[in-house]
């Protein structure tokens, strides 16, 4: 299958202002059918904003769009769709109460008879070939409820293709996928390119960009910072263009002495895997990686440990003292904090100010007889902003206005302000740019050097191997093995992860 009339799109002089921030200033970009363009830049560089302009979701304040030789002031989402531009959002909007075919054809259902009865068979027939095209391993009649995140992503792409998309825009599509799922997605992308589809692809994982992009466009502080052609795409070069300097040492292996365990799990069982018993201990000053495939039960284990979910038996001890089950407040009081995997739903109050988000769990400390000391609150927010380098016009701005990576820093700041003894980090660098990643790793190492025990769940293999002192690998809710830093390789981890 090939695209009949490949797209030719050029943006020039695009500017977009938000209160207090210039998100884009005089940005240009061009893309043709049959090429994969990688769009990279630091957190807050304006990548998502630029994509929203392309998809018609955000109207630019200035600039022009030239589409197939025709000049347009601004696109509406409906026009963008009609002209073959499809935007796969970072937050997937799959309707889990419908089946796959209904999701793909949402709003364009095939009906039969004068009453407009849904023709589910015809819908399935129409959708099957598209699913094959994206290499989906699920059928048109399957319920969308059971699809993994990766499969939902494919569903969104299938939806785009069903609308005859000529340009598919993907905003950080791999940030919540595992290694093998990512590979599958990249293969689909390469195949679509060969069919003549244009792909615009944002990612902070530069290895993927190296692998799949034909051209790379770099944004810095809302401006064009240059372009790289096929032969020039190379990690260090991209980093330099993104942040204007070298990142330097990324991972920095520390010698750490064996200390007493700060977090111990004894025979802990979760409700997802009630039969598996987990025994694990994190020592003071240690970074213990927790690897495994998506669905191995790592997040469930973290939630049961922290007290969000009930435990199906077993004990959790912090500094040797058992935690009462299902009490988050107790966990926090004893120095156990959790950075959740889903920051928008579990980590943040999007409409609240940055400062309110950062100080929420610390309020008890920042108040006297229940009354908040606003000067102290302000002080804490400012210190945290500096410590983590959160980019925002003012601390009174709503978190929703921040770029993805800066939002993640707000969640981190919130827990670091509590001075934790044990920190569970669930995918701590998801959506964070290379520079900030290096900062987060440095921060983790500083914390560990100060005696904090860290349990880091991560699907980023490079990160697990680079940062962890030891790695526990989970498979089907149980610990399949623990690797010391000497035996850490991608193969050894994968071998344990697949069971």
């Amino acid at each position: 299958m090939t695209v009949k009339n490949p797209i030719a799109l050029t943006l020039s002089g695009v500017s977009k202002l938000y209160p207090g921030v210039v998100a884009l200033e005089d940005v240009g970009l061009s893309i043709r059918g049959g090429e994969v363009v990688g769009l990279i830049g630091e957190n807050g560089a304006g990548k998502s904003t630029l994509m929203r302009v392309l998809g018609g979701a955000t109207a630019p304040d200035r600039g022009s769009i030239e589409l197939d030789g025709e000049s347009i002031a601004a696109l509406t989402p409906a026009e963008a769709t009609a002209r073959g531009i499809a935007f796969v959002h970072q937050e997937l909007n799959t309707f889990t109460n419908l089946d796959v075919a209904a999701n793909v054809l949402l709003g364009r259902e095939i009906t039969r008879g004068p009453l407009g009865v849904l023709d589910r068979r015809a819908m399935a027939r129409a959708v099957e070939p598209i699913l094959q095209r994206v290499g989906a391993r699920f059928g048109a009649r399957d319920s969308a409820f059971e699809l993994s995140l990766a499969d939902q992503q494919l569903l969104e792409i299938a939806r785009a293709l069903s609308m005859d998309a000529r340009l598919v825009i993907l905003d950080e599509p791999t940030s919540s996928l595992t290694l093998s799922e990512t590979q599958r997605l990249l293969e689909v992308i390469a195949q679509l390119r060969d069919e003549g589809v244009a792909i615009l692809f944002v990612s902070h994982r530069l290895a993927e960009i190296e692998q799949v992009a034909d051209r790379v466009i770099v944004l810095r502080d809302g401006r064009n910072a240059g372009e790289l052609g096929r032969g020039e795409i190379e990690k260090n070069r991209m980093v330099r263009m993104m942040i204007g300097r070298d990142v330097g040492q990324f991972y920095d292996k520390r010698d750490h002495d064996a200390h007493a365990p700060v977090l111990q799990l004894r025979d802990v069982a979760t409700s997802t895997y009630p039969d598996a018993r987990v025994n694990l201990s994190v020592k003071a000053g240690e970074i213990l990686g927790l690897a495994g495939l998506v669905g191995a039960g790592r997040t469930e284990l973290a939630l049961a440990t922290f007290g969000i979910d009930a435990r199906r038996g077993g004990e959790v001890l912090v500094n040797g003292v058992p935690l009462p089950p299902r009490s988050v407040a107790q966990s926090i009081a004893m120095g156990l904090c959790l950075l959740p995997e889903n920051r928008k739903e579990h980590g943040l109050f999007l409409d609240f100010a940055v400062s309110e988000n950062v100080t929420l769990p610390s309020l008890a400390r920042l108040s006297r007889r229940g009354v908040v000391d606003r000067a102290a609150e302000r002080g804490l927010a400012e210190t945290s902003q500096q410590r983590l380098g959160i980019k925002v016009a003012s601390l009174d701005r709503a978190v929703a206005e921040l770029s993805g990576g800066n939002q993640q820093k707000v969640v981190l700041a919130k827990w670091l302000a509590m001075g934790p003894k044990v920190l569970i980090l669930d995918e701590p660098t998801r959506g964070i740019d290379v520079g900030a990643k290096a900062e987060v790793y440095r921060l983790m190492q500083d914390l560990a050097n100060a005696g904090v025990g860290i349990l880091m769940i991560s699907s980023d293999m490079e990160e697990v191997i680079g940062v962890s002192d030891r790695v526990a690998v989970m498979c089907n809710g149980a610990i399949a093995g623990i690797l010391s830093s000497r035996d850490l390789t991608e193969e050894s981890i994968l071998r344990l992860a697949v069971g």
Binding site: V22, D61, A329, L338, P340, H346, V371, V372, A393
Partner: protein
């Protein structure tokens, strides 16, 4: 004071000025004192309503609770010779228990607040009517309880005690909601209950407390209303008051989705609604149109609010753009910088 509150204040002043211009009797001491009294009475349960709305909940049984607790209060005093301070205390305790029950049903049994409190509305009204055998719980005890009469319905220096009580309650409510840790937790639970749980906030406790506060305040206002009307017709006493309270809160900037609003806003909302009531009376508008006027003004207010917000945003955008056009340094002075701060 938030920008929304300022807008509402302007509206209150404009409506007041218009009414005063058309009918100077609006500003007569008698009318002012009467209006103030009503503001106090209606304000008490409107603030109560705000506490549950901020958690994303709703309390529909306010009117019925005012009727039921009103007849109980009268009955205790008139027929059982209970001293009035004790009767007040008993009524407040019943309100607290109702709050615990509502909160329990909502948090533990996961019922929707709308459903729980709708059932409350029906149940309490029914009990109130049954309790009095559908008769009027009346009293002529104003004379025999001069102290109670003075405390609740009296005036000091011409200022009705009801509005003084409201002022105190509103001040405490403002402080609680906007300055204490508990207030912050109320907003947090209303905005995103899951994230609140992850932050270690006991959302069950916060929500139950919100309903307890709401119904305790409603109980207080029930006592005031009983003394104001002197006789309670259990089938109609307090009808629609919950909607009045919700209207005041919405006018005051509370979102029914929770997590937003300010006490200053509710207070101004109550004042505005009473002003409108007054306007209907003084301008000789048929009183049957009462609700229609109120509804229209609320609708206009809410529409104006969203439109003004939009206008403001557009203007800021245009201003920023013109600075950018002029030169980069000007943008810097405006506080506009590149993506990097």
């Amino acid at each position: 004071m938030q920008k929304k509150d300022v807008g509402l204040l302007v509206l209150v002043l404009v409506v007041g000025a218009v009414v005063a211009a058309i009918n100077p009797r609006f500003l007569s001491p008698i009318n002012l004192a009467n209006t103030a009294n009503l503001i106090g009475l209606f304000g008490l349960f409107s603030v109560a309503e705000a506490f549950v709305i901020v958690t994303g909940g709703i309390e529909l049984s306010v009117g019925s609770v005012i009727a039921l607790l009103g007849v109980i209060f009268v009955d205790l005093i008139v027929n059982h010779d209970v001293p009035w301070p004790l009767a007040t205390l008993i009524v407040i305790c019943i309100g607290a228990v109702m709050g615990v029950i509502h909160g329990f049903l909502i948090t533990r049994l996961k019922l929707q607040p709308f459903v729980v409190t709708l059932c409350g509305l029906l149940i309490y009204r029914g009990i109130a009517r049954f309790y009095t055998a559908d008769g009027t719980a009346g009293f002529s005890f104003g004379d025999s309880f001069p102290m109670l009469e003075w405390v609740v319905s009296g005036r000091t220096g011409g200022v009705p005690h009801s509005i003084m009580a409201f002022a105190v309650v509103a001040a405490v409510a403002w402080f609680t909601l906007h300055r204490t840790v508990f207030g912050r937790h109320l907003f947090a639970v209303g905005k995103n209950e899951e994230a609140a749980r992850y932050a270690g906030i006991d959302s069950t406790r916060v929500i139950v407390l919100a309903y307890v506060i709401c119904l305790v305040l409603t109980a207080v206002s029930a006592v005031f209303f009983a003394m104001y009307t002197r006789s309670i017709q259990p089938s109609s006493h307090g009808n629609f008051y919950e909607l009045y309270g919700i209207a005041a809160a919405v006018l005051g900037g509370f979102s029914l989705r929770g997590g937003e609003g300010s006490i200053i806003g509710v207070v101004l909302g109550v004042v505005l609604l009473q002003e409108l009531q007054n306007l209907v009376n003084l301008l000789g508008i048929p009183s049957s149109l009462n609700f229609a006027v109120m509804g229209s003004v609320i609708l206009i207010g809410v529409i104006a609010d969203t439109q003004i917000d939009r206008y403001r945003q557009r203007r800021r955008q245009a201003l920023g753009l013109s600075m950018l056009n002029a030169d980069g340094s000007g943008a810097g002075e405006l506080g506009l910088t590149g993506g990097k701060q």
